[in-house]
Amino acid sequence: MNAIILSAIWGILMMFSAVFIKSKTAPKYIALAGIILIFAANAIELYSGNSFFTIDVHDMLRTGSFNLTFIAVALGCTAFYFLLSGGEFEKTGPHVAEYFALIFFVLCGVSLCATFNTLLMLFIGIEIMSIPLYILTGSDKRNLKSNEAALKYFLMGAFSTGIMLMGIAFIYGGTPNASFYIDNIQLGTGKMPVMIAVGLVMLMVSMSFKVSAAPFHFWTPDVYDGAPTVFTSFMSTIVKVAGFFAFVRLFENSFGKIQSQWQTLIVFITIATLLIGNVTAVFQQSVKRMLAYSSIAQAGFMMLALFALNDRAKEGLVLYAAAYSLATIGVFSILLKMNDYTIDGFNGLAKKHPLLALTTTVFLLSLTGIPLTAGFQSKFYMLMAAVENGHHFWIVIIAVLFAAISAYYYFRIIQAMYFKEPLEDIVQTSEVTVSFKILLVITALMIIILGVYPELILGWLYH
């Protein structure tokens, strides 16, 4: 509750700050203060179990340690995001404060997605998350790529919203007690009614769209590629994992008991996602676009949570959220400093900026899932969840085979940085400040600490 309300309020605050404060750098600090405040408030709620605000929500939202931990992870990652990339907002356009405001609104949507208990709140949450993103995607107004991305994102997003609503309608129609509460669908143990089945598929399609799972991922590469990099970083991480959290929450609470009846669909989606994400990423020359595909690939792994749908899966998802977001934000923050977004642009980075190269390596290793990084722990939990599920065991093997392919494209960057010489004596990066380096190191350390000691997050799940 704290996070939802405070992030909404802080968004409005940011919005007004644009009117009163003309400084370009000030919004970043206000936003940082805000995110820390919200994080603290959320932490207090997590720790004490009580929100600052007592509102009768009619059970439309449910806060528990699980949700709050997830929100904490999302907020924490956003804090890192602000710290690492906050300074880059102004490169996109003049409305820095507005961008921050939009991001706070997105965070409000993220929090809603993490706590919703009715389909209505899910819908509103998703929309609150999406609409600001359409804007952020198109915020680089003069850039045709940004325009194109925004248009594609918007049209396809609206389309998927339509699908989702149709699904909700059918669920509503199929539920005997006419309710939108996700835990009140009252399914028997037998075969589910046709209307529910239709609604379920449509919901699955739209949620898959939001988390960019194949074959509903088509917007992802284009939008991530076209959007201003600094916002790609945000939307490919925090927003996406929030989508996943919502996805898992929705399907676990509403259809968890009859999982066997729809697991095949998830298997199909998971494999398609893994295949398309990993295989297509191999050929990409632009790091940004490669990361877009990699985010699809990672989504494939996160789909395992949906496949498994047990405690381990949820733990894994939270861990995955943290690991994946931190690493991707880290890589993007470095990418933002690069002058050339192609892989060749990274050639010989280790010579000039050993620290940048080292931290990038840590991030990429984490994304690959090498032990001692958070990425390994999260993948490990996912695999464990999937094995624990007991059905379709082979999907796990396919997943790891694709994970091996993922090493291929992540390591291309590492190879470029360490083992190749820069083409000529060009300026590779924009100015890299000491504080940025320190923050990078902290982020990398965070990843390693989580890799060694995932209890840091998992411990809160059952608080």
Binding site: L120, V194, A197
Partner: protein, 165 residues
């Protein structure tokens, strides 16, 4: 066949026919006008279902505000001409076929339902303004408030994107 059924059929034909015309017409302005007719037909359905509030809102918000906005934009851009000179008929055919297949699959599955569930027509109070208002401002106060965020962000969006710098 009573009057209810008859109006249902008429309204349905109107809605579907206009919808088809909307996607078929070359001129965006005509499309918009066809769509407005669809909305009116749907509003008629609402009336038939005794959802008075939604019938009114639909006309005010959709047919009135939203579609006028569309019309306004189209006029502003002066798009009232042939805008899609190159037509890829094959792609269109595939589109129609796959859309049709979707419809077919869904209907064939849904029509197999054996339960005969009737819809309450013309009577019933869930759709009355007083009831809805009460529910909206008691049970649904939170989403109602939250939707303001949606509008705020839409507003910022309009500013950020639309404003000339």
């Amino acid at each position: 066949m009573n009057i209810t059924t008859l109006s249902f059929i008429l309204l349905s034909i109107m809605a579907i026919g206009s919808a088809v015309m909307m996607i078929r017409s070359k001129s965006p302005v005509h499309s918009i006008l066809w769509l407005i007719i669809v909305f009116f037909a749907i509003s008629g359905h609402y009336v038939l279902l005794n959802a008075q509030f939604l019938a009114i809102v639909n006309i005010i918000v959709y047919a009135g505000a939203i579609m006028v906005l569309f019309l306004f934009v189209v006029m502003l851009m002066n798009l009232n001409a042939e805008t899609e000179p190159v037509k890829n008929y094959r792609l269109q055919l595939i589109g129609v076929i796959s859309g049709g297949a979707l419809l077919l699959i869904l209907l064939s599955a849904l029509m197999k339902m054996n339960s005969q569930q009737m819809v309450q027509m013309k009577i019933g109070d869930p759709g009355l303004i007083s009831n809805l208002g009460k529910v909206l401002f008691t049970n649904y106060i939170l989403p109602f408030e939250l939707s303001s965020i949606l509008f705020l962000s839409a507003m910022i969006g309009a500013v950020v994107i639309g404003k000339k710098d």
